[in-house]
């Protein structure tokens, strides 16, 4: 946790708004902008309330507090014009009134503080600079973790939940390399590429202890971990990095929330790298939002046979930059932010040098096997076919390489360590 959340308690009101009747008598409750925030929190918890509806509601009624009063009174005029072409305004007004009944915005707001979730209001203290001038800035952001991380250069590593082994490996290794170079990795904490990117950044942090933690922008409330299988990762990111959400506590995953979340990822990133995307993948919307904000969009090529690379290949065809190495990403970042020079990558392992340079016993065989292994995940069977050695010899030499940490194994896949 950063020190920021505790200092937030001592905030002085920047915008004085009198406490309205719906809030009632308050002793140590929200002040000023916090009253505004408290009402936005309450409004955001209404069913189907997204950034667009909220924006229109606020501009129609002038203040969040007034908008809330109208909703709570069930005035259907309050939502007139809110719906676009879909939905029934009267039914929506009734649904909102029912949801608003008995809700105390102040209590909602304090529940977030109690849960360690900080509420950042547009224009208020701690609200990310990167979002201030955005096309569609969130009215509120709910934050857990170190808000100061957004001062570093940022790269969004995003991609499909249904990733291939290749994509997962690359996302994890690039997440690690970016963190090691002092870059903040931004992603969405979804399964697949997102999780691998976060995991990679955490790997880098755990190894060195001094690299920046990752930033995650999620589509649910802070208390609704989605997917549930990512709970441990989620907690770790909140501990050493930052998790942001546009949704208040208790917000369940809903399909429409993820594209909205993607625009925030795009807005927070200096460079967006799409690692893998299916033909109609959600990460393509992140790329579009990034392009709309003049961010650099890079795509990683994959196999033409892989459905998980169809979307990324289309991005390349449509003009996205090609990223085939971590240097491509750092270069794009450097040209984007002339002030920042990424730190050099960590040196290679000394034991690896010994084998690669041909010193020590068995080094000849070991080097030959490393050559046969190449830089793509490979099976033992492939190595036997490539070297034409006996299975016993391949295993003996390979085991030696694993003992030297030059080769790692995941399932049947053997990989040469590139660091």
């Amino acid at each position: 946790m950063s020190g920021w959340s505790s200092s937030a308690d001592g905030l002085s009101p920047q915008r004085a708004i009198g406490l309205g009747p719906t809030v009632g008598q308050v002793e140590a409750g929200p002040l000023g902008e916090e009253v505004h925030a408290a009402h936005v929190v309450a409004l955001l918890a209404l069913p189907g309330m997204g950034p667009a509806r909220l924006g229109r509601l606020l501009s129609r009624h002038g203040s969040a507090e007034r908008a809330w009063q109208q909703v709570a009174a069930g005035v259907s005029e309050a939502v007139f014009g809110q719906l676009g072409r879909r939905g029934d305004p009267v039914a929506l007004a009734a649904a909102w009134q029912a949801a608003a009944a008995g809700v105390d915005p102040r209590a909602r707001w304090q529940a977030h503080r109690a849960a360690g979730v900080v509420v950042l209001a547009k224009g208020g203290y701690g609200y990310p600079d990167r979002l201030v001038g955005d096309l569609e800035p969130p009215e509120l952001l709910f934050a857990q973790g170190d808000i100061g991380l957004l001062g570093h250069p940022t790269v969004a590593l995003v991609g499909t939940r249904r990733a291939s082994a290749y994509g997962l490996r690359l996302a994890r290794s690039w997440g690690d390399a970016l963190a090691s170079a002092g870059v903040v990795v931004v992603s969405g904490l979804a399964a697949g590429i997102d999780a691998a990117a976060h995991q990679g950044a955490l790997d880098g942090l755990e190894r060195s202890g001094c690299t920046p933690g990752p930033v995650a922008v999620v589509g649910t409330g802070h208390d609704v971990c989605y997917p549930a299988s990512s709970r441990a990762l989620w907690r770790r990111v909140a501990d050493v990095g930052l998790i942001l959400s546009e949704a208040p506590l208790g917000t369940r995953p809903e399909p429409w929330r993820f594209p909205a979340r993607n625009r925030i990822i795009a807005a927070l990133a200096d460079v967006v790298v799409v690692v893998e995307s299916h033909e109609r993948g959600g990460s393509l919307s992140t790329a579009e939002e990034a392009a709309a904000r003049n961010r650099v969009v890079l795509a990683v090529p994959g196999s033409v046979y892989s459905p998980a690379s169809v979307g990324t290949h289309r991005l390349i065809a449509e003009g996205a930059g090609v990223a085939v190495s971590i240097e491509d990403v750092l270069l794009a970042l450097g040209s984007r932010r002339p002030g920042s020079t990424p730190q050099p990558l960590p040196p290679t392992a000394p034991l690896g040098d010994a084998v690669r340079s041909g010193a020590g016993p068995m080094a000849e065989q070991e080097r030959n096997l490393l050559d046969a292994l190449g830089w793509e995940p490979t099976t033992l069977d492939d190595l036997v076919l490539r070297t034409a050695w006996s299975l016993d010899t391949v295993c003996a030499v390979l085991n030696q390489l694993q003992r030297l940490n030059l080769v790692t194994q995941a399932g049947i896949w053997l990989t040469q360590r590139g660091d």
Partner: protein, 518 residues
Amino acid sequence: MVSLSIPGEAMLASISSSVLRGVDGVPVTVEVHVAGGLPAFTVVGLPDAACREARDRVRAAVLSSGLRWPQQRITVNLAPSGLPKAGSGLDLPMAIGVLVASGLLDSQRVADVAFLGELGLGGAVRPVAGIVPLVEALAERTVVVAPRCQAEASIVGRHCVRAAPTLAGVLAALEGSAPWAVGPSPLDRADSAAPISSGDLADVRGQPLARRAVEVAAAGGHHLFLVGPPGAGKTMLAQRLVGLLPLLEPSVALETTKIHSAAGERLPIGGLISWAPFRAPHHGASMAALVGGGSSWLRPGEISLASGGVLFLDELAEFTPAVLDALRQPLEEGRIRLARASGSVSFPARFLLVAASNPCPCGNAGTPQPCRCSVAIRRRYRRRLSAPLLDRFDLRLGVQRLDPERLTIGGPEESSEVVAARVAAARELARHRGVGANRDLAGALLERHAVLGSSGRALLTDALRQQRLTARGVDRVRRVARTLADLAGDAGAELRDEHLSLAMYLRAEPEALLGVEP
């Protein structure tokens, strides 16, 4: 066997036969008492439904054979009375008993003769299941069976096996007025029961690790777990494995034959099963079909039918947890005990387990193709396979879908015949150590025959430290390394580094294979 002619009206006959209990036969005496009184036919001695139906079949068979049915009070007692008796093999001895007790057949004709057979309503003598153990239980010199059972009954080799197609035929042959039926003579052991065509190992190309795993499994009796997407040739590998196993030892062959006989399975021509059986039950099969059971007649299940050979469980994760749990006892003891109200029965179940699984429900986890399953689904799939079960496998490896390009690389592979010779030699070495196969090496035997030198110790310690090997896996790796050395003709007790290395690659961690982070 003996009939007593009581002066006056009552007559008693007692005829020898046997019934199945598990896969073993138990001698039974069929006592028939015919006395004056109202005509009746009762069977006592805990008969089951089949025995009660036997009354009607016996009466009809006697009448349609043109013989007289005594219009008297007939009581049949099946002794010993405490023994549950199932099956229809007692029809023939009952009918013979009635004929003797009513004076239609001289009791001397059935001295030292036992009878096994079901009767049709028209008088035909029909085969019964389990003839091998049934005959084995009999002490009589002569055994009369249905003609189709004659070869099977002759396997035991201690009896003069006779057969006739009908009850009238049996009667005539016993009286010496007609010859016995001529059955198929038992063939030579060597050309009996050719194995089911299981394909040659030479067809397995481009998968050197899997080829070796199959050879090691056959030589050391090590259980094998294959993980890979559909189309990776898992079934093909399992079928090749059974073709590498040596002919069954005579005692094992007889036991395996008894199990198949007791289960009513079709036996090969000549009767004796001398090749290692291959059983591949579907995961949809019932618990009784898989592990044995049944309501009245306790039939051996697939795991017993695989005894002496290979039990192949494809789609291991699809089997119910109850079935997977039931595998534990046979894997440890080589037998399965089934408890029933009528008492418990134990069947042999000493099989080489080959199991296969997809890495995840969509089959793509751990392959270059993207997996379509969520992490939660992959975890759930993984949880179906209990850790203690997966731990029983000395050999666990991932196999890949076969890339057609790979099939053409390299020279011709060794044939099953060549590999089987190495397997037989390795099994011989294990026998000299006092175990059936290296998978049974444990404790002092393992210390003596799978010695770790300083180099091997360092190798395993490094792997443990790098978490490539678990402490529980160490002994299994040593055992497999022993088998690898045996196959290489390396008689030294100290294990070589290359064999330890290879043994580790033959035992991957299941989490990695199933695409779940450990």
